[in-house]
Subunit: 793 residues, 2 copies
């Protein structure tokens, strides 16, 4: 093992330490001020209850550690001209992060109402955790932030996402020791196997081991040094430990550690970039063991506070008069009079510690990724079209076709290095393997001779962790790049909560005037519920769409392209969009192709429409509307229509296909929603609508309950009946098959009794034959397998 | 560091190895047979295409490794009389697990149609991944399984959950190296800090390092031995490595490793139980590095198969005639004629390797936990009642009261040791701290003098990982015990996908005749959306309920008790239930108490009802129905009603409170659903219903769209407008506050224009005053803070 390294930078002078210590005191002072004070920000008069917020919210515990790291990072940034981002992983770190951005001047630049003076300080203090103000996390309104840190576990993933393809960037990522207990964080240390030192930037993880969560010790703080050291060496890092509580010694130790870490990072990058070293390097990381609530009150009401979990939140409330003195004593211990001038401005010798302009972490343009974003170069999607002479006459594999398009997206943007594809070891399984003609899987761990498509420079990010895929992609997008996450439909639920948080970030960021739009988060959900017949019930869940539609309407889009050409259109559209979460659900199995490219463009542009070629209502009023959303429901609907055409040739059937699910919602609720009149024109106001839907039926009701004809809409979809069985049996079990759809039509249209009875008998016979056939042969009966849309129809 | 240990068991004799090897061959043979064959199970005639399944599904890659471990575990179980469970973490391990359960005889015992003979073998082969048959995971129909392994990442958590409070049990948990990349698995290694060697059983993790996922190498297979060793030592284990491909040597090596591991486990337990050792022990774990698809075809179509990812699934399909010979050669390489007698029965000398009766891992009663489950001893919940003389006159903290009840549940079941409470460091934050009067937090890592409520025997499981809480609890329930998971409402989404999988397990297990019901999975979601005003938008998401209602109706229950006494009733009810997922949403903040215990019992028993004391429709037809579900919506509704009473005394208002959300669904869809006539009796058929709901409004529409009066139901709920603000401003931002509810009433009832205008003006004035007040003071205006239900009303 590599020995504990020696520091290689110059030791700090006492003057330097004094200034750094002054900045730290200032940041700590501002942090306490934000948590406690409404007024009297510089304590120019004795503190009174009137100066204190009536409702104390916020968290002190992690803040002094963040402040300590921030000023020391500034020192190395300035000394070495680094291009660095700061990610605050611990929850509720905003008092510290905001304090530093104010001290750097950035906060007042982007929010002129909060100036770099006493009045600005008053506003700064007041707004924190105050109605109409800012939250206690590094939310989108925080300059320099790409990571809110409200829900814990994703800091390191965001850091790596930011570092990919930014070779000059160093992302300093503070990981809380509470956060470190989460699953996503625990696996994200392995991101170092997916980072290329030649073409990516560096992540410097800093585990902030302050020992406690809300009310308990943390696991990593209560294992031996030997275990802790082994754990991070096992993860592939060289841990550099900084441990203590005496400020002077700690300033020296952290400075040496940062110098050492940056030296190592530069040496690694030089070896890879100039020396052609291709083996995975031993990246440095820092373990900072410091007191929770460091520099705060040691004892409150007779109980230990500094260095204990009681310092986690607000160390004391103001319900006791003696706490006023405690607060004043605490705040004065930072000697604000030495830090701010008479106007409340940070003294210039301290302010000079900040890097200049964009080199301030709070002003780094990577943290406002939209400002750096360049649109993707996209090849003409229409040139990848599958030929469709007659609807349904030939089969195609939608995602395979999309893969060819994506291959060329990779190629077109190879030089810009701003597009990556993410997925949990499923790129090939999801039939996107043509991408591998243009690039490989990113891989910086060991390789053997038999390996294929592994390369440190690969642009396909595969790891068996949906959390990693999602977190990396978020970090990549937030720093101004583009990407696509392809996933098995059922397992995208693994990142439900991450999607929530990203949606919340997007919503809030749109309200921040200086934030620029970022590229959309695009999902391809394939290997979907209807074709997991070989993987069984555990792989069958179409509920992610239900989850995302709870998010704000201007953020969420959901697409169900029924074939390859529509998928091409939708993919192109999504890759051009911004500030959205786009969910595309599409199959990977060979299935009939319905629309040629012209028809696909027209259909997708509207998002919903009547398929005239499949309808026989001659643009008049139909007897029944057969609606469908999703590739399998479309197939079953058309099969039902073709059978009805034979059985009940007089019946006027209209086929409506839905690509853009949001068209179903009223336009008052979603910008893509149809007007009521447009909806009525498609679905009629009184005819039965048999709606075959890809997912849980309730969603269609939820989207359409306000429509005129809602009471006549009958939805067939996934009824949570899954198994290992044949593809057709899957739809039969959930009553989404052609026969049950036909049966529902017959139940809801007016027919002569004899015709209805005959048709029902035919259906029942077919279902009995289906059961018999699969039990005997284990595959679907020829009548189903060989069915094709009649070309003369 | 502890040196690599020496094996302490007796070396295997050649005869023993021969028999073990024969079992392994038999299990591998049965695994291949399940994947490929329809008929000719013992290859009594030359293999023909007709004998092969027309559709080949299944996974071979991990199977030989599982089989290898299974037979060797059987050896130590028999030799030492162990009580052991087997958990197959790698995906698609069913062919192996099922093969071993058939070889042990258990499969034929529970499924007599699949006998221990040639005909049984034929059925066994045929049913695998065949319509109406069994899936490729160790699903509930697999004897001995408590872990399906369809969605990866939870094996080790289930193993620890099973081991808690089962001091005699050893849970052998095979972790796939693909699975090991997931977040939940990566953090679950730390479960060893929460296991008490004195009173819990042991988990023996076996990392199955076969090198590949679907189409890529795995991370842990491609780091150095030094890093791998360090990683597991860092996690607090003593890794024992078994590495190779030559069967004879591997049999000896794994036997020695298992002997060593079991010796160490017993030594640890003895030291803790007899010697009183309380420091966390160094538990052994095994790293088995073996070939993917071991013993399968080495080369297929000129490409490497055994020992490579191409062996992951079906190593070859039957699309080429020469593959028939390849398959026959492969299967005959196991020499079935040496393994099975003329009747197709496993030869007795091989069968004798299996442990007897319940000691077979496939017959271990812990894996059919319901069979061992004893109901909880529950104190009389009514004795914890909060006194309520007049509705709303006094405040109470619902979860605090529940905590007192739970404290006594812990006490009553202390001897049975079958109840635990789980939560991500939030038990106290969620105001359940009274539990700590009865027990402590489980903690087997280091402690310091200042620590409080940490104990290796603690029954409160806290770790900052919702995944760990969920996975441990699932394992605990599946082995016949009881528990409750208390969580911040927003962050329960972290385990959305785990809940899916558990719901699927419950649904399938109910269809397995020999599985007994297990205790329900109970959630308390508190620190909910309406009182996260201090934590901000990231902590505000009530969508978990939307997620769970997609699951089967007979599994899901959702409760919104509006106060402490109703929460007591619901908690008691949930702790008595089985085979369900119960979601309880309740607040932790001081808020008005509405119902005394008698009224609470009546109200909760029905699940929904008119609050006569709050209504003034004198049991006649109301002008408007004010419905509410959730504590904050109930408060705002009653405040609106009390204001309406003053403003519009003539208006007849009916108040309906919903505790059991599922009552809203038609009884055709959910067993708790009201009949249409009962629903109409509450909600009328034509009067406006202003429904104040805790979560996303769409859910109420989704549940009620079939009801007669649906078009008049207007739902107010969370509109995804969150922030750090005051409690009342949170409801105002989402239009769930008393004033907006009043406004909606006025919009939908017939009133003289002047009365309506006056009332509207009053509302507007109040909302303006609200905004002004919070901007000035940062807290809610007195009119809101001091509002109480008028006791004379």
């Amino acid at each position: 093992m590599d020995p504990q390294p020696e520091a290689t930078g110059q030791p700090l002078s006492s003057d330097e330490i004094g200034l750094i210590h002054a900045w730290w005191r200032a940041a700590n002072y501002l942090s306490v001020g934000q948590i406690y004070l409404l007024d009297n920000p510089l304590l120019r008069e004795p503190l009174k209850m009137d100066h204190v917020k009536p409702r104390l919210l916020g968290h002190w515990g992690t803040t002094p550690g963040l402040n300590f790291l921030y000023v020391h990072l500034n020192r190395v940034i300035k000394a070495r001209g680094l291009n660095a981002l700061f990610i605050a992983g611990p929850g509720h770190g905003a008092p510290g992060v905001v304090a530093n951005t104010w001290l750097e001047g950035t906060y007042s630049e982007v929010y002129p109402a909060i100036g770099p003076d006493e009045d600005g300080l008053r506003q700064l203090f007041r707004q924190f955790s105050f109605p109409g103000g800012i939250p206690s996390h590094a939310s989108p309104d925080t300059p320099g932030s790409i990571h809110e840190g409200g829900e814990l576990g994703y800091s390191l993933l965001h850091a790596f996402g930011a570092a990919f393809d930014n070779p000059d960037l160093i992302v300093a990522c503070v990981v809380g020791d509470g956060e470190a207990e989460t699953g996503p964080l625990a696996t994200s240390w392995h991101s170092n196997k997916f980072l290329n030192p030649a073409t990516d930037g560096a992540v410097l993880p800093i585990l902030h081991l302050n020992g406690y969560k809300i009310a308990s010790p943390t696991v990593l703080a209560r294992i031996s040094h030997t275990e802790l050291d082994a754990l991070f060496r096992g993860y592939g890092y060289l841990p550099i430990f900084v441990d203590g509580e005496e400020p002077d010694a700690m300033h020296r130790a952290i400075a040496a550690a940062l110098d050492d870490a940056v030296d190592r990072i530069h040496a690694i990058q030089k070896a890879a970039r100039d020396g052609g070293v291709t083996t995975r390097p031993l990246w440095p990381m820092i373990v900072l063991r410091s007191l929770k609530g460091w520099t705060g009150p040691k004892i409150v009401d007779g109980q230990k506070s500094e260095g204990f979990w009681r310092a986690h939140q607000v160390p004391f409330t103001m319900d006791k008069p003696e706490h006023l003195g405690l607060l004043e004593e605490w705040m004065r211990s930072y000697h604000p009079e030495e830090l701010f001038d008479d106007g409340g401005r940070l003294r210039p010798e301290i302010a000079a510690l900040a890097p200049r302009g964009d080199r301030r972490m709070s002003a780094n343009p990577h943290a406002n990724g939209g400002a750096l974003m360049r649109p993707l170069r996209l090849p003409d999607f229409a040139s990848y079209a599958v030929p469709v002479v007659h609807p349904g006459e030939s089969d195609g594999e939608a995602t395979q076709v999309m893969g060819t398009f994506l291959r060329d997206v990779v190629r077109e943007n190879a030089q810009a290095r701003n597009f990556r594809v993410f997925g949990p070891d499923e790129t090939a399984s999801n039939r996107l393997q043509t991408i591998f003609e243009a690039t490989d899987r990113s891989w910086d761990a060991e390789t053997i001779a038999d390996d294929v498509h592994l390369d440190p420079s690969g642009r396909v990010m595969e790891v068996l962790s949906e959390h990693c895929c999602q977190g990396w992609l978020e970090g990549y997008l937030l720093t101004g790049r583009h990407g696509l996450f392809s996933c098995y439909e059922a397992f995208i639920h693994i990142v439900d909560s991450m999607v929530n948080q990203h949606a919340k970030w997007l919503k809030t960021a749109k309200e921040v005037p200086w934030r620029r739009p970022i590229a959309s988060l695009n999902y391809l959900l394939t290997s979907h519920v209807w074709r997991q017949d070989h993987n069984g019930f555990s792989h069958q869940d179409p509920g992610f769409v239900d989850h995302v539609v709870n998010k704000k309407a201007d953020i969420v889009r959901v697409y169900f392209p029924p074939d390859a050409n529509t998928l091409l259109f939708v993919t192109d559209h999504c890759l051009r969009s911004w500030d959205r979460i786009n969910v595309i659900v599409a199959g990977k199995q060979p299935s009939p192709q319905w629309l040629d490219m012209n028809a696909a463009i027209k259909h997708c542009t509207r998002g919903i429409g009547i398929w005239d070629w499949a309808s026989n209502d001659r643009s008049g009023e139909p007897d029944v509307v057969m609606a469908c959303a999703g590739d399998v429901p479309t197939l079953e609907t058309l099969a039902a229509v073709s059978l009805l055409r034979v059985q009940l040739p007089e019946l006027k059937v209209r086929v409506v296909n839905v690509v853009d699910l949001m068209t179903l919602q009223p336009n008052s609720q979603h910008p893509h929603g149809l007007s009521d009149s447009a909806f009525d024109a498609l679905f009629t106001t009184d005819k039965p609508v048999i709606f075959a839907y890809h997912g849980y039926p309730a969603l269609i009701h939820r989207l359409t309950y306000k429509r005129t004809n809602h009471q006549n809409i009958h939805v067939h979809g996934f009824e949570e009946e899954g198994s290992t069985t044949t593809p057709f049996d899957m739809v039969v079990r959930n009553h989404l098959d052609r026969f049950h759809l036909m049966g529902k039509v017959i139940d809801h249209v007016e027919l002569p009794d004899s015709a209805a009875a005959y048709a029902k008998q035919t259906i029942d016979d077919q279902l009995v034959e289906h059961k018999r056939y699969i039990a005997a042969h284990g595959i679907d009966m020829p009548a189903v397998r060989d069915w094709r849309w009649p070309s003369g129809a």
